[in-house]
Symmetry: C2
Subunit: 248 residues, 2 copies
Amino acid sequence: MDAPVLLTGSEGRVGRAILDRLAAEYDWRLLDREPPAEERPGEFVIADITDYDEVREAMEGVGAVIHLAGDPRPEAPWDSVLRNNIDGTHTVMEAAVDAGVEKFAFASSNHAVGAYETEARTPEIYRPDDEFLLDGTELPRPGNRYGVSKATGETLGRFFHDEHDLSVVCVRVGNLTEGHPPEDYERGQAMWLSHRDCAHLFECCLEAEYDYEIVYGISDNDRKYYSIERAREALGYDPQDNSAEHDD
Amino acid sequence: MDAPVLLTGSEGRVGRAILDRLAAEYDWRLLDREPPAEERPGEFVIADITDYDEVREAMEGVGAVIHLAGDPRPEAPWDSVLRNNIDGTHTVMEAAVDAGVEKFAFASSNHAVGAYETEARTPEIYRPDDEFLLDGTELPRPGNRYGVSKATGETLGRFFHDEHDLSVVCVRVGNLTEGHPPEDYERGQAMWLSHRDCAHLFECCLEAEYDYEIVYGISDNDRKYYSIERAREALGYDPQDNSAEHDD
């Protein structure tokens, strides 16, 4: 990807994980509602993703988008996810299509399928010998309104792909923590995504050729109930970390 | 169902098909934004479904909801489906849960999966000998923003079922026409839903016991690419009409 890459929500946790490792690899255009707290690579645009004109201007000349912006709180109230996550994602995707963007990576979330973790399945589902596995072809099953908003973003991506031929990949991001996996928290270990694997996965989203994909964004953990096969096949994802093997 | 049934969007086409045949069968509470043009059974509430307080008041004592209200236009702009269909459905479902409603039938649409009708598949997909079949377990694939909004309503239903144990059935309504199926229109014949079968299907939604279901709402047409097996199994749906057998 030689053209500029627009990264929305650059000041969030996923954005920092990506930029920490890929700052020099792309011609970045970063977008967030507030100015950055520290120095960032490339150009910085202060904009609200629900403002079409601002987003459309930031989209000019862009080859690919990594769309992370939105309310990241699992417990966020409906009004906020309706505006920031659902309407905001529609705005960013529409502006991308209007600007002729080729590839669009959307940060979806494990919360889009959180309610598969029923009482009957947990905690066994988090353990290596359990066979329950989601692979991205299942219907969404959100455990909160934030998850509903992420599932809707995936459906919007499907629509903009089918209607406008935008390449769209939805990454159901797991539990991103820096340095080491969550301790004493089986669920977090099962869906751990290391910073290294996170940056690599989004780099794959910028480099691979795809139509429309839903993939799980976790490291190659022994504990897992998300399949990473589709990320490997469609994107060439090759994770290096495993929550079971991590030394502090 | 002995308790009152709240039917939102009673003045729309689906609402009239239901009330024409089931007026005397239930204790109806009808809700729409404008007063009815002709006499209606039961009680009539004038309210906007995006107003929680109005909807919550209409929900008092209700045993089941048939939620049809929303912008019904396949070409409706995003702002309208965001407000009326996505936010409106969230409001009605939340009010239903808060009022202790047991069953909730949501009028989804064939447009939630309209983009499965690709150029490569059509028009063969509309013909009796074609084997392509959607059964409700597939991911949404909307052909327009209206379809995105209906897919989101389905996901909201999943959430309210998982979180609050509301019984939810999403009916992907086909092509509802009165009297006879669409003529010289293969797609319309493939997804025809007669008025008689429509009323029967929503009656099943009020009478059957279910957790969360997505079913297709079409008659038993020879031409079809929607399976009605799940509607038969989960709801006891037993359609009487078939677009191929209809005499004018």
